[in-house]
């Protein structure tokens, strides 16, 4: 172990964050203010999520970190290394083996369990912000459940694009009470927000924490004549052949060659290991690494 206190933050700070988390779990979808600490990484790199993870990790935990569904991006790798170094916890790329999963922009394809915690990195926690910049006013709107403005945003979407074009950070209503920003996950993931695992959301720069306890009702906002749709690219994964997973479009070459692949790299690899092969996929071989 290193000279750091376990998981970098001092015990007092972790207690303060845990209190905010407990309050968030007690009032699902409500944004709890907390005194965000300087972290040894810039805002926008998930400082909110990192502080929440630090507050919930215990030494026996196994941690997984994903960014856009992938374990191997710079952001995911650096956060994973941060916790390996400061908390000495084991890490994994396998969703199934993780106790705590910190994520940016995705929910894993594999359903999570009651003994798992999913921690989201949140850039802008306030779903009303884009139309009402005044914090005093948005707080009041939450307190009084004045949510007409959320539908104004969706109305504007339809009037401009003929459909609700909001594809990420699609607003939801939690247990019929608080309107919540689910962080910039694709709306494809919204139905998965009703899950068995505890979900914690941390916004570092904005100093807010919010939470969804297991099996909380989460409804995506919509209109009667423009109902919510959890859409994805109309395609199957070119590597593993899955036609129900969320896909990234990857440009292959200058000639416009492209392929669709699962954004959840662990999910895709597991499927290939089990023998599934997509249109452009080669039979699976264990990586040298």
């Amino acid at each position: 172990m290193s000279d750091y206190n376990f998981a970098y933050l001092d015990e007092q700070t972790k207690r303060m964050i845990r209190r905010a988390i407990l309050k968030g779990l007690a009032v699902p979808g409500y944004q709890v203010p907390f005194a965000s600490r300087e972290m040894p990484m810039p805002y926008g790199w998930g400082t909110g999520g990192v502080q929440v993870s630090a507050a919930v990790l215990v030494p026996e935990d196994v941690m997984k970190v994903i960014d856009q569904g992938a374990d191997d991006t710079t952001n995911a790798v650096s956060i994973r290394k941060f916790f390996e170094k400061t908390a000495g916890v084991a890490t994994t790329e396998h969703t199934r083996d993780a106790d705590v999963i910190q994520t940016r922009h995705r929910i894993p394809e594999e359903p999570l369990r009651e003994d798992q915690i999913l921690v989201y990195q949140v850039p802008i926690p306030e779903p009303l912000r884009f139309l009402e910049p005044r914090e005093t006013e948005t707080r009041k709107m939450h307190a009084l459940e004045e949510y007409g403005l959320m539908h104004v945003k969706l109305y504007e979407d339809i009037s401009r694009h003929g459909a609700i074009s909001t594809a990420y950070a699609y607003p939801v209503k939690v247990e019929g009470r608080y309107v919540m920003d689910p962080s910039p996950i694709p709306k494809f993931d919204n139905p998965k927000l009703e899950m068995a695992a505890v979900q914690l959301f941390g916004a570092g720069r904005e100093q807010r924490i919010y939470a969804l306890p297991p099996y909380t009702q989460v409804v995506s906002l919509d209109f009667e004549d423009f109902p919510f749709e959890a859409s994805k690219a109309d395609h199957a994964c070119d590597l593993c052949g899955c036609n129900t997973s969320y896909l990234d479009e990857v440009i292959m070459d200058d000639a416009g060659g492209r392929m669709f692949v699962c954004s959840d790299t662990d999910f895709c690899r597991e499927r290939r290991a089990a023998g599934h092969v997509g249109a452009q996929g080669a039979p699976y071989e264990e990586d040298a690494a």
Binding site: L131, K140, L144, E146, G148, L149, H151, V152, Y155, E156, I158, S159, R160, F223, E224, D225, F226
Partner: protein, 256 residues
Amino acid sequence: MTPLFQVKSLGKYYGSRIGCEDVSFDLYPGEVMGIVGESGSGKSTLLNCLAGHLEPDTGEVLFDTRVGGLRDTVTMSEPERRMLGRTDWAFVYQHARDGLRMGVSAGGNVGERLMAVGARHYGDIRAQAIDWLGRVEIAEDRVDDRPSAFSGGMQQRLQIARNLVTGPRLVFMDEPTGGLDVSVQARLLDLLRGLVREMGLSAIIVTHDLAVVRLLADRLMVMKDGHVVETGLTDQVLDDPQHGYTQLLVSSVLQV
């Protein structure tokens, strides 16, 4: 008949300075009350206290609520008061940008109040928005334009549509024609008069422009230094002013 709105001994102070003091009046359904007076006489302070935007220091502001009858809106809970503000009450600001969302389309601006009270059918909301744009003489093909692309007069008409779409029972207006060109003012006044008659609106209109109250108001309250110095039927007050200040006010208009 019960008054729709009843004000008793209302006072508002800014430190030791009087905003308005000892204001009392009744407003009956379908009535339009004008409040006139020179700049600084306390009109806006009074109107903002009436509409719940400012908390008065003394007095009562009673409104004939749908379920509870006459209730003091000063002491009711903030959620209830804000609910009134987006259902039975409407507020037209002097500066359209204070009363509009400049980053939202005209249709979205008009639709907001509908959505605020639970409308969830896009097609219906849009149809109502277009209908209301028509009623304030804004062409249907402007429904997706933002108010920032509108002239001052159009912005003000949009603000009126946005306020009236939910059929409020009481409309507060603060200098609704102020800051507009004279020809634009005349057209807006015409439109307002039509809507007031057609919808049987109850309204309280603050203005320093006697032509506005002459056209729109049944009754008049004249303010000076935060106090009401004269009240009466509009024509009576304007044609036969009793108070010296009102006489001055009226004559200064006639000279123009």
